[in-house]
């Protein structure tokens, strides 16, 4: 049993089901990537794991405990962190204040965590007093990830972290995500840039119409001719 698992998930935003029996699992110190065509339910699956989408059926377990009916806030308290695709920073607050807000629930000294984030993203350290809304797209994503890391999470979930950033910035961001894995954090990602993401992934799930189509190691999925043809553009 993996650290965080979602099994047999059915559900959506009212109306019809978007998820139809999809299952996801991620372990500590592992990068898991969800890929698939538009509308496959990748983001929905991630939100379901985080409690932002109600499940009609299925179960979510964290460290062996069922958390299916917990609110997102209580999942944060239990060590899950989520970086939404949009609106993932406080644009009118400074970089430092964004990180402080990430640690809002913590009562202990947060300076060490903050220095660790600044170590991971040195650019943020230089701009800690700047308003986050004034930063570039890549730096905003760094703030968003940094904010999520401030909770000292066991699981970090990223919804398309490289959407709309330049290719060079994307590579840089993936390098940082590899570093985060090194710290023993479970990383679950939804990615549009499937090729690059699978290249750093320990495991990958290919989702189609709310169901798992392929599950394998990242390398194997990249090598799989059917996956290449249908989902990676040849």
């Amino acid at each position: 049993m993996s650290f965080l698992t979602g099994t047999d998930m059915y559900g959506g935003y009212g109306g019809g089901d978007i998820l139809r029996g999809c299952a996801v699992a991620v372990d500590k110190g592992e990068i898991v990537v969800m890929v698939g065509p538009n509308g496959a339910g990748k983001s929905t699956a991630m939100k379901a794991l985080f409690g932002m989408v109600r499940l009609r059926q299925g179960e979510v377990r964290l460290a062996g405990q069922a958390i299916t009916h917990l609110s997102p806030q209580s999942r944060v308290r239990r060590g899950m962190a989520f970086v939404p695709q949009t609106g993932n920073i406080f644009t009118t607050m400074t970089v430092q204040e964004n990180l402080e807000m990430g640690a809002f629930l913590r009562r202990d000294d947060i300076s060490e965590s903050m220095e660790r984030v600044f170590g991971l993203f040195p650019a943020l350290g230089e701009k800690r007093r700047q308003t986050a809304g004034e930063l570039s797209g890549g730096q905003r994503q760094q703030v968003a990830i940094g904010r999520a890391l401030m909770t000292q999470p066991a699981v970090l979930m990223l919804d398309e972290p490289t959407a709309g950033v330049a290719p060079i910035v994307m590579d840089e961001l993936f390098d940082r995500i590899l570093e985060i894995r090194q710290a023993g954090i479970a990383v679950l990602m939804v990615e549009q840039n499937a090729r690059q993401a699978l290249a750093i992934a320990d495991r990958g799930f290919v989702l189609v119409t709310g169901e798992n189509r392929f599950t394998d190691s990242g390398r194997a999925l990249l090598a799989n001719p059917e996956v290449r043809r249908s989902f990676l553009g040849g």
Binding site: Q73, G87, T91, M93, F104
Partner: protein, 338 residues
């Protein structure tokens, strides 16, 4: 000639600058409450003027009681002693209104317009309560020393032809406003709860994800907005006079101040408050005597040189509001509470 220039400046200070500083502070405090409610609870609160009237009413009733007991503050108005209880009562009313009315629509995530109309209902009720308790007429409650410096003293002190009178209420207004604003900004920038409020105003979903308790933020917002309303209302009442209807009419300049400054922005509300106050007073002041000091005899104006009749001072806030919005739709300072 030089004396004339000094006289002209004293004249301007006496009739424009000092009154506008006091009035601007009152508007700014009111607009701060409006802007906080708008930024965090996300609706235009039409009941804010009547909330001010309510707070002032409580202060007046307490002041009368204290005066009857012969308890006072010497040269300061007794109302200052009554103010803390007035603030407490206003907070209680604000929270009660939220619990009874606004919470329901907030939890359903109703459109801002629905909340605004609900605030009209609250406005009606508060307006009626104030009139039932204290009546619709003018009520005076200021005491203590009326002037810090009066015109005659100033003239004999300086030997100038023009006097400068500074009322206690004006200095008090400015001092209290500075203190209130300083405390508010310190709270918003430095404290955990203040940062939570700013985060909630900036990005509600992300704030919730970060563990901010929405109920606490809402509670704090009403507590602050109501405190500011009680302070602003009392200061306005001390400076001018208390009449429930005028507090309703303050809604327009206060909203103009909040919107012009960029709604949801505390420093914008302050800038907007002073902009509206200075424009209102400067445009309705007759400059005849002022120009008389500065211009040679043969060029002295015959008329009053008043750009706008005092009866139309409300239109100043309206024009500022519309002009700024058409020219810069987000107001002078962009964004949410920061």
């Amino acid at each position: 000639m030089e004396v004339d220039v000094v006289n002209a400046m004293v004249l301007l200070a006496n009739f424009v600058v000092v009154p506008a500083l006091a009035y601007g502070s009152q508007l700014a405090l009111g607009a701060l409450g409006i802007t906080l409610v708008y930024g965090i609870l996300r609706f235009a609160n039409f009941s804010h003027g009547d909330l001010m009237a309510f707070g002032t009413m409580v202060v007046i009733l307490l002041t009368w009681q204290l005066q009857a007991w012969d308890i006072g503050l010497g040269f300061l108005p007794t109302a200052l002693l009554a103010l803390p209880l007035g603030i407490a009562a206003t907070i209680a009313v604000g929270l009660a209104a939220d619990r009874a009315v606004f919470r329901f629509y907030r939890l359903r995530r109703s459109a801002p317009m629905v909340l605004a109309i609900a605030s009209v209902g609250v406005m009606f009720v508060l307006n009626g309560v104030v009139r039932v308790v204290i009546g619709p007429d003018d009520r005076s409650f200021s005491d203590g020393a009326r002037y810090l410096i009066n015109a005659r003293e100033f003239k004999s002190l300086t030997g100038l032809a023009e006097g400068l009178s500074i009322r206690t209420s004006q200095v008090l207004t400015l001092a209290l406003a500075v203190i209130a604003v300083a405390v508010l900004f310190w709270f918003l920038r430095r404290t955990r709860a203040g940062k939570a409020m700013r985060a909630y105003s900036d990005n509600e979903d992300l704030a919730l994800l970060s563990g901010v308790e929405p109920d606490r933020v809402v509670l704090l917002t009403w507590a602050i907005a109501a405190s500011l309303a009680a302070i602003a209302g009392t200061l306005y009442g001390l400076d001018k006079s208390f009449q429930p209807f005028t507090y309703f009419q303050l809604l327009l300049p206060m909203f103009a101040a909040a919107i012009v400054g960029g709604i949801g922005q505390p420093h914008g509300a302050i800038a907007g408050g002073f902009l509206v106050a200075f424009s209102e007073i400067a445009l309705t002041y007759p400059y005849k005597k002022f120009l008389g000091y500065l211009l040679p005899d043969d060029m002295r104006p015959v008329g009053l040189v008043q750009l706008l009749s005092t009866d139309y001072k409300l239109s100043v806030s309206f024009v500022i509001l519309v002009v700024v919005l058409l020219w810069r739709p987000t107001g002078l300072f962009r964004g949410r509470i920061s």
